[in-house]
């Protein structure tokens, strides 16, 4: 029973990491294209990119903790 619970928690974390993975990809990709178009705005774009990554990855981190708790 314990092994099944751990395995399901692991699958759940894997599923939970899909969305943030896609989201971080979109955020970083758009930040790169913005920096390539306007290199003089690179500093501002980089700060905003880290913010976007930090907000997007929250779900994956909650999934990570739930994997441990389960």
């Amino acid at each position: 029973m314990e092994e099944i619970k751990s395995a399901i928690a692991l699958v759940g974390y894997g599923l939970g990491a899909i969305g943030p993975g896609i989201g971080i990809g979109i955020v970083v990709g758009n930040a790169i294209s913005a920096m390539a178009r306007q290199p003089e705005a690179a500093g501002m774009v980089r700060t905003t990119m880290f913010l976007g990554i930090a907000f997007t990855e929250a779900l994956a981190l909650i999934g990570f903790v739930l994997f441990f708790i389960a």
Binding site: T47, F50, L51, A54, E57, A58, L61, I62, F64, V65, F68, I69
Partner: protein, 272 residues
Amino acid sequence: MEQLILASGGCDPANDIICRPDNVIELFEFTDSLFTIGPLHFTRTVILIFLAMFIVIGLLFFGLRGKRMVPSKFGVTIESLVQFVRDEIAIGIIGPEGIKYYPWLLSLFMFVLVGNLFEITPFINFPITSRMALPLFLSLLTWVIFVFVGFKKNGLGYIGPLIWPKTVPIALRPLVGLIEFVSTFLLRPLTLAVRLFANMVAGHLMLTLLLVSGWVFLSSVGEIGIRSVIGIPWFVFGLGIFVFEIVVAILQAYIITLLSAVYVQSSVHPEH
């Protein structure tokens, strides 16, 4: 010898394939204390927290001591770090009044940075921020500061537009208000703490797993002979992760400071 040894406590390597801690409680609770002074229990983590505090105080004191015409390299490094937190984070995010919050942001940044870098310091190899108590306390401090600032700057006008937003259709206002309330007052401190904690725990686990299993394979060369070369890729991979963890440690210290500044900024100017 096909076992991976992750935790030694309460683990019988002869039976289990992978030994892991019994439950997650180990990451949250105090372990056995090394020594006790009155009601205070000193574990290894507590000693490392004090060590981090003294390192931060020492860095800032000796780095910024005196005004010299030509500062030393060490002084320039510390000065650029301080200037980065002040100009890029405090003033850059919060605005001109961010200079008021800059001592708190600087101490948060330096403490978390030193605590994270303990992960990859030889002979310490333990990030103090991978115990939940520390990031949780730091993020609760942030929570207290941004809620206090919000109410002080805006009065009830801080919470009013949050739970009854005027810009959305009236039928949706209770739902949006509930979501905003939960995400601002409950999820913000939680994710702020969990982000730092989870990144550090994951890095620490990966380093421990790879380097220890590499070491176990290589050191048992007498028993298993040529098969112990399987430890070499483990070791190389572990060293690669080691470099990656330096970046993660610095980036997470930056991100927790940046997000704290953003939360304070959203309390100072709630309409933006």
